[in-house]
């Protein structure tokens, strides 16, 4: 039996680095110092869980984010957990050899492997819009999911559908949990386009070490990273409360780093950890770089009108209009109708009175 620890040592990671990794992981997961030995113990004794990492319709930004996990230690370790199995973007094998790995894992580790899905399957035309090794991705996905222990939906594609599912969604790109034939497997969603690297590695580490999901919210996202909005922890929040806003991209407020609310920042409606964990090793995140959040980890963010509009466009009204335009329109029509009705009523009243006299 090969444990995680064995794999790491084989990859040239020292015991010292391994223990550091365990305490860092415990801290990242919010578990407290006493959990570090537990993580170490689990990794030393548990059989390494194989991970199949499938790619459907996607742009590989999840993989790109993942391999940039800020702490190099975490990156090395987690990559050594994963790279030995199947991930068609970063594995060495190719062609039939690669596809054989999927078959091997599924038969050898029936019910014990993790299935990580990046991207989603298009269901129209029997799935012919995404072909992997000569077969529709849908088939590969449903086959691999049948015997998986659990499924990780990486990124907004697998979690929600993302841009390939944008209206009118001609290929019927469908998020993993809505694909028929997936079976009743536990699914964890890690949305974002891409998700934050540290969030991805932390989720994988948690699942591999504890063999269960971290606590999830009602929509299947891990609470430890998706329980607060960008807005709740944004370092520009004091400017929001003060009423100091950027009005134009080149104005004084933009230079002073005021709140981007009026520029359509979706921070107030987006659940993610960007404003705390940040990106590229905690260096920065979109708002810190002077651009509003586009809400990439939210369901349907691609179909909610401009990234630079505060109020959402509502397509049901035929032309693009937001709630205020529709509301002012309706209030004007009703107000005008009331005025006209009042005029007719007045005339009528005057006439009736005349008749009585």
């Amino acid at each position: 039996m090969e444990t995680f620890y064995d794999v790491m040592r084989r990859q040239g990671i020292t015991r010292r680095s391994f223990l550091k990794y365990c305490s860092l992981t415990a801290a990242a997961l919010g578990l407290g110092p006493s959990f570090a030995p537990k993580i170490a113990h689990a990794m030393e004794t548990k059989e390494r869980i194989p991970v199949l990492w499938l790619h459907g319709l996607e742009c590989t930004c999840c993989s790109e984010s993942f391999i940039r996990s800020a702490h190099p230690l975490a990156k090395d370790v987690v990559l050594s957990m994963l790279s030995l199995d199947y991930d068609d973007t970063i594995m060495a094998a190719a062609g039939h050899e690669a596809e054989a790995i999927v078959e091997e894992i599924v038969t050898k580790y029936k019910g014990r492997y993790l299935l990580a899905v990046e991207g989603n399957p298009p269901l129209n035309e029997d799935g012919m819009y995404c072909i992997i090794g000569g077969k529709p991705f849908t088939d590969q996905l449903t086959y691999a999911s049948q015997h998986a222990k659990a499924i990780i939906s990486w990124g907004s594609c697998a979690s929600w559908g993302c841009v390939q599912a944008a209206r009118p969604n001609p290929t019927r790109a469908t998020p993993v949990h809505k694909v028929p034939g997936i079976g009743n497997k536990p699914i964890i969603k890690v949305p974002g386009c891409p998700p934050i690297a540290e969030v991805m590695t932390a989720v994988v580490t948690y699942i591999l070490t504890f063999e269960r999901f971290p606590e999830l919210d009602r929509q299947g996202r891990p609470k430890m990273f998706y329980s607060q909005r960008i807005h709740d922890k944004c370092y520009r929040r004091p400017h929001f409360d003060a009423g100091q806003f950027v009005e134009k991209w080149d104005d004084e407020g933009a230079k002073k780093g005021y709140c981007l609310y009026k520029m359509g920042c979706k921070g107030p409606t987006t659940y993610n950890a960007c404003s705390t964990v940040r990106w590229n090793g905690g260096l920065s995140f979109p708002i810190q770089a002077g651009h509003g959040c586009i809400g990439c980890s939210e369901d349907g963010f691609w179909d909610k009108g401009g990234f630079y509009d505060r109020l959402t466009d509502i397509h049901q009204f035929g032309i693009e209009a937001n709630a205020d335009e529709i509301g002012v329109g309706a209030a004007t029509v009703v107000g005008a109708a009331a005025a006209a009705h009042a005029a007719v009523s007045a005339v009528k009243q005057a006439r009736t009175k005349g008749d009585n006299d």
């Binding site: 009423g243 407020g253 409606t269 349907g300 959402t312």
Partner: protein
């Protein structure tokens, strides 16, 4: 001139009925002011005032105050609505009208149709009611009662987002309502749209109240102040 007026008062001897009990009247006006505060502050939350361009962030609290007023008025609105629903149970028959319209009664729809004709200038005289007429009941039930319920649920769901996952607002409202609507952005949009529905309702409500006060066979506006419905003729009522 004096004779004429004396004649008139004999001709139209008024009778009066006590319709709106004090709690209903007090609620009506508190609610009206809460809605005005909510609409104004809510609008400025969606489309904030021009940026405060001077000084440190700690010198100002414009959005903070606007949002505080919105939340405070929101709680007044919620508590008022719960109280009003309670009063519909313990109050007089008129207090139940807008919560439980008699939609299964044929008379209700016949009278509603008559009211539509009255507003379309097709009949010369409206019917006479101690309470609300059926058209008013239906409009208040659909636009006001259900509009308010929607605003309360969506409003508390949005408040729960800021209060956080451990809060009762989040547990009771945000946790199921936000996924039901799609995501947070959708809840904001619908909350905003229903504000306009309530504004449209208010325009109609105020216009019709003024018009009926002048043209119908009973008092309207003063009734919501004194509670007494005065009738302008002596014929029997229709409800």
């Amino acid at each position: 001139m004096a004779d004429q007026m004396a004649d008139h008062s004999i001709e139209t001897k008024q009778t009066a009925v006590y319709v709106y009990e004090a709690p209903v009247r007090i609620w009506h006006w508190i609610n009206a002011f809460a809605i005005i505060a909510l609409c104004v502050t809510g609008y400025f939350i969606g489309s904030p005032l021009p940026s405060v361009s001077s000084g440190e962030a700690s010198d100002h609290y414009v959005m903070g105050y606007i949002r505080f007023v919105h939340f405070a008025a929101g709680y007044i609105f919620v508590i008022g609505f719960v109280f009003r629903a309670y009063w519909a149970i313990v109050g007089n028959s008129h207090s139940k009208e807008i919560f439980l319209p008699r939609i299964f009664s044929k008379d209700f729809w016949d009278e509603l149709w008559h009211e539509v004709k009255w507003y379309s200038f097709l009949v010369n005289e409206p019917k006479k009611y101690t309470g609300h007429n059926p058209l008013a009941i239906l409009a208040m039930h659909l636009m006001f009662v259900w509009g308010s319920i929607f605003m309360i649920i969506s409003g508390l769901a949005l408040y729960g987002e800021g209060a956080g996952m451990g809060s009762w607002q989040y547990q009771l409202f945000s946790s199921w309502f936000i996924p039901l609507m799609g995501q947070s952005q959708d809840v904001h949009t619908y909350h905003h749209l229903v504000m306009w529905l309530i504004i449209v309702f208010a325009i109609i409500h105020i216009y019709v109240a003024v018009r009926e006060d002048i043209m119908s066979r009973q008092s309207i506006i003063s009734s919501m102040i004194s509670g007494w419905r005065l009738f302008k003729d002596n014929r029997p009522t229709d409800d």
